[in-house]
């Protein structure tokens, strides 16, 4: 019986090395949000005193992987994209804070938004694979370096996509930010976004001698 030829062996060896590289090296790859989409153009939106607010559920695995390179719902986080847009005729100023936004689930559970670093930390790539790399042909430090880089990129991207608070005013009429809602373990198995909505409280600045006031309203997800 004839053994593999030299060329074949070379190919097999190269493939094995590449496979090992693929297993050991990591990278972060996520899309930015579509900047063309505005709150006022979304069908299921709310308007209050010239502020349009809309939300988009990004917890589906497809959307989550697309924008966060992770199935965040699988990791216990529900990402929701919040759109804010000031009406073009409005001169009002609104403050929106992450702490004032909640995700209300069908069963009445209210989830608070968490820090993106917490999410990034929770879903970060593990260094376990670099340990494996040290035992294999591919050097472990390369793997460790790629993990570090990927995690840093993820942290940066999550932070850029989510802000703690924002002021919408005539100079910044449109804004979008992702909110990460942590899903408690006790409801993780029955978690659903069916009938869920986002409860938003915004603070409208007083102008021209009028007092400022808080406005609270639910914003539902469109289909």
């Amino acid at each position: 019986m004839r053994g593999p030829s030299g060329g074949t062996r070379t190919i097999r060896r190269s493939s094995a090395i590449l496979s090992l590289c693929a297993v050991g090296c990591v990278s972060y790859s996520a899309r930015p949000f579509d900047s063309r989409q505005e709150a006022s153009s979304i069908v299921e939106q709310r308007e209050a005193d010239g502020l349009h607010v809309a939300v988009e559920d990004l917890s589906s695995p497809r959307s989550s992987l697309q924008y966060f390179d992770r199935d965040l719902a699988g990791h216990g986080y529900a990402p929701v994209l919040l759109f804010l847009e000031l009406d073009r005729l409005s001169e009002n100023v609104f403050d929106v804070r992450r702490d004032e936004v909640h995700l209300c689930l069908q069963d009445g559970t209210r989830l608070g938004a968490v820090d993106p670093l917490e999410v990034a930390d929770h879903v970060a790539y593990s260094h376990f694979r670099s340990v494996l790399g040290f035992f294999l042909v591919f050097p472990g430090f390369f793997v460790a370096s790629s993990v570090n880089r990927a995690n840093e990129e993820m942290e940066t991207d999550y932070q850029l996509k989510s802000v703690k608070s924002v002021r919408i005013n005539p100079n910044m009429r449109s804004f979008r930010s992702v909110l990460f809602f942590r899903i408690p373990d006790e409801i993780a198995n029955r978690f659903t976004m069916e009938d869920a909505f986002v409860e938003v409280k915004v603070f409208k600045q007083g102008q021209g001698g009028t007092l400022g006031r808080a406005i609270e309203f639910p914003v539902h997800f469109g289909k």
Binding site: A48, D49, Q106, D195, F197, K201, E216, P218
Partner: protein, 831 residues
């Protein structure tokens, strides 16, 4: 169906369903509770369910009945507990389980509605705890009702209330989707259409589609169960168009009429609507009135326009709150009236003026702008004045008659309160004239002056005199005097002349004199002042050396004194005489002096007038009447006059000529003292006979008598055989001093005046002036050829006699005898 039959049937059904735990009575009660539930007798149903549960506490269906009854009675919390117990106890068939879930969901829903009632349209809720609690309850309701829907996917109630729960969660699109399912199962029901319309409003605000949906429901007729719909209509009706609003309003009115126990909100709405309707009626009336007023004013039918406005205002006055629109309309009418009525003013016709007045008053009443109020008031004043002009004119004329009758107080009373604005110039002047003259006659000088000053045309006789006098007497002397002085002399009355005289006296006596002289019927005070002015002028002229003028003034003064006052004032005569004297008109001077000298003057007055003697004496001198001159000079001196230096020599000579240096007829005695030794003697003038005076000499205890007589300028003393002759006056015809020689007892005697105007001062300080110094010598030629002489130097003072005697023997002074005392006879006035 008969309830009793229904209960039996339900009981039978329950029995067959296996509710074997209940005894017969409980079964019946349970059946009755279900029947009551069907009937809507919620309390009875609840009570019956409790009865069942008392016997069988674990009977789930009874708990469910109780829960439903409590829910319908509005006790959702208790209902939730009862329904929970029903589900917990079990024994529910699938339908009952569905019912339990459905009502549990509805309980949450109603509890949420109680926390957050149906919101007002287009309102934004501020965050508050109740809102969040309500939302939680709606979430629960949705969750529970979703479960119910899953059990009976096509069930109307489950979908209806789930749709409503989603609606209250403001997920309007999903609510519409759910409620659409209701429409497919029971399209004849109204609730889903109502909720769906609410969802449309949530998405698109109040809109035609939603309102048409509500009206379609109300078209079925008013029903008590439609209460939420009608309540909602009251919320949105003001957002609807006119037609839709009317339809909604009609529907609400029909509902309120058909359903007596309607909500307070409906009641409140109807009350507000009634007010709105009233307001609309007011507006409509306002519009129609505005149009009518506009038309009438355009046609110049002002009275009709005013009547229309006032009629409207009367009706509007019954309204509790003044309307802004009425105010605006009133302002517009006011402007219109003001603008158009101007055309009536020019005619001057009474009727038109009255119409204008009416319109202006209404315009003033209608406006609330301060600047227009002022303007309108001014116009009203003008019109009122125009109307009042004729009446005022007549009144003024009547008042003039009163003035002519001398009823000055009545004149003022009648003119009081009358306004002169708007009167013609003539009437206005007459008004002021009447006031002025009446005030003048009443002594009210300041008001009189003001009235006269207010006159525009001074065509009344004597107005300047009235005004000038009023001004002067009210203290405005400068203006008054100027005015009075401007009156032509032929028209000036005594009063004017008098006042001018008085007020010009100090400043311009010459003018004052002219005015005072013009007083035709002078009062004593006028004469006195005239006299005073003349004297002042005369004296001023005299002081300035203008003697003709002085004569003129004093002549006038003298005329006043003698003709009008019938008295004499010595200084007038004196100065007049002096003026004549200065003018060398001696005859008149003498005459004047003579008049004064003959006047009955006091000693003090005489002393003041002593110059007449001085001057007259000088005149006498000029006329070569030295004796008369001496008398006057002597009188001048006697009246304490000081002889001027240039006359003193002349006077001294006159004294020497004419003075009585030995006034025997006046002297009672002389007492003399010798300074050489203790020797004195007294000479008593005892009496006169045939020009010879007996003089008794008393000395050293002896008494002798002498006879003294005058012989021309000499006095001759005879003492026994001895004679002494002395010249005691200077001869006027001779410049040389007199000398006389004579013989006495064999001695050669001579006497002569050696000096005149001597002053002798005797011990004791007494001085005698103008004395004669007479030297007397006796020479005795003895037989042996020796001569012994005795010389006497005698000093004689005029009117006194011998005052001093120096005795020389052989030219050696041996003694000096001086007058120590003398006395005039009693009754001698010249001492």
């Amino acid at each position: 169906m008969n309830p009793r039959i229904l209960a039996v049937l339900i009981a039978a059904a329950l029995s067959t369903a296996g509710c074997g735990g209940l005894d017969e009575r409980e079964e019946e009660s349970h059946a009755q509770s279900l029947a009551a539930l069907e009937r809507g007798d919620w309390s009875i149903a609840g009570d019956l369910a409790r009865t069942v549960l008392e016997g069988e506490p674990d009977y789930g269906p009874a708990h469910l009945v109780l829960g439903r009854a409590l829910f319908e009675l509005g006790k959702e919390g208790d209902a939730l507990e009862a329904i929970g117990r029903a589900e917990e106890k079990g024994g529910l068939d699938p339908e009952q389980r569905f019912t339990a879930i459905l009502y549990r969901g509805r309980c949450h829903l109603e509890l949420g509605r109680k926390k957050d009632p149906d919101p007002e349209p287009e309102s934004e809720a501020a965050p508050r705890p109740e809102l969040k609690e309500a939302r939680d309850l709606f979430i629960k309701a949705n969750s529970v009702l979703t479960e119910a829907s899953s059990l009976h996917p096509g069930n109307y109630d489950a979908n209806l209330w789930r749709g409503y729960a989603v609606l209250r969660l403001e997920n309007y699109r999903k609510a519409i989707e759910i409620l659409k399912e209701c429409a497919s199962s029971k399209p004849e029901k109204w609730e889903h259409r109502f909720f769906m319309a609410l969802a449309w409003e949530g998405l698109y605000k109040v809109n035609t589609q939603s309102m048409e949906a509500y009206l379609a429901i109300t078209a079925q007729g008013p029903r008590a169960e439609h209460a939420p719909l009608y309540d909602h209509l009251t919320r949105i009706i003001q957002l609807a168009g006119d037609d839709t609003r009317r339809r909604m309003h009609t529907a609400i009115q029909a509902y309120a009429k058909a359903v007596p126990g309607h909500s307070a909100r409906i009641e409140s709405y109807l009350a507000e609507a009634a007010l709105r309707e009233a307001a609309e009626r007011r507006q409509a009336k306002l519009r129609s009135t505005s149009e009518k007023v506009q038309t009438l004013i355009e046609k110049s039918q002002f009275r009709e326009a005013v009547a229309a406005v006032e009629s409207f205002l009367r009706d509007d006055a019954t309204q509790p709150n003044p309307s802004r629109m009425v105010k605006d309309a009133g302002e517009g009418w006011s402007l219109l009236l003001e603008a158009r009525v101007e055309s009536l003013l020019g005619s001057g016709e009474k009727e038109k003026l009255e119409t204008a007045l009416q319109c202006f008053e209404l315009a003033r009443k209608l406006t609330s702008k301060v600047d227009r109020l002022v303007v309108l008031q001014q116009k009203i004043n003008v019109v009122e004045l125009g109307l009042a002009r004729d009446e005022s004119s007549r009144k003024i004329q009547r008042t003039h008659d009163l003035l002519k009758a001398g009823k000055n107080a009545e004149v003022l009373a009648m003119l009081s309160g009358m306004s002169v604005d708007g009167l013609s110039t003539r009437d206005r002047d007459l008004y002021h004239y009447l006031r002025g003259v009446a005030s003048y006659h009443l002594g009210q000088w300041a008001p009189a002056a003001r009235s006269f000053a207010a006159m525009a045309e001074r065509h009344f006789d004597g107005i300047d005199a009235f005004q000038g006098i009023s001004l002067v007497r009210s203290g405005q002397e400068t203006a008054g005097v100027a005015m009075l002085a401007g009156i032509p002399s032929e028209t000036r009355g005594d009063e004017v002349n008098r006042l001018l005289g008085i007020h010009l006296f100090e400043k311009d006596a010459a003018r004052a004199v002219a005015y005072l002289a013009a007083v035709k019927n002078p009062a004593p005070a006028d004469l006195e002042l005239h006299l005073k002015a003349r004297r002042k002028l005369g004296q001023d002229a005299y002081d300035k050396g203008d003697y003709p003028r002085a004569v003129e003034e004093f002549q006038a003064a003298r005329q006043i004194l003698e003709v009008q006052l019938h008295k004499r004032v010595f200084d007038v005569y004196l100065t007049l005489g002096n003026a004549y004297f200065r003018m060398e008109d001696f005859e008149r001077a003498k005459k004047t002096y003579q008049d004064l000298a003959e006047a009955d003057l006091t000693q003090a007055e005489r002393e003041q007038c002593r110059d007449i003697y001085l001057h007259r004496g000088q005149i006498h001198l000029r006329e070569k009447n030295p004796d008369l001159a001496y008398k006057d000079f002597a009188e001048f001196i006697r009246l304490r006059g000081q002889m001027p230096g240039e006359l003193s020599n002349m006077y001294g000579r006159l004294v020497a000529m004419y003075a009585d240096f030995l006034p025997l007829d006046r002297i009672q005695y002389w007492n003399y003292t010798s300074t050489a030794k203790d020797y004195n003697y007294t000479l008593f003038v005892k009496g006169e006979q045939d020009g010879v005076y007996r003089v008794e000499r008393r000395e050293a205890g002896s008494t002798s008598e002498e006879a003294w007589s005058r012989q021309g300028i000499h006095v001759v003393k005879r003492m026994g055989d001895a004679i002494v002759k002395l010249p005691l006056n200077v001869n006027p015809a001779e410049d040389a001093l007199p000398y006389v020689e004579y013989a006495s007892q064999g001695q050669e005697c001579a006497a002569e005046i050696v000096a005149i105007q001597q002053t002798v001062e005797i011990p004791g300080g007494r001085k005698y002036t103008d004395c004669l110094k007479v030297r007397s010598r006796k020479t005795l030629r003895n037989a042996d050829g020796t001569v012994r002489s005795t010389k006497y130097i005698l000093y004689f003072a005029p009117g006194v006699g011998e005052v001093k005697q120096e005795v020389y023997r052989d030219d050696a002074k041996v003694s000096e005898i001086v007058l120590s005392d003398f006395a005039y006879r009693s009754g001698d006035a010249r001492k």
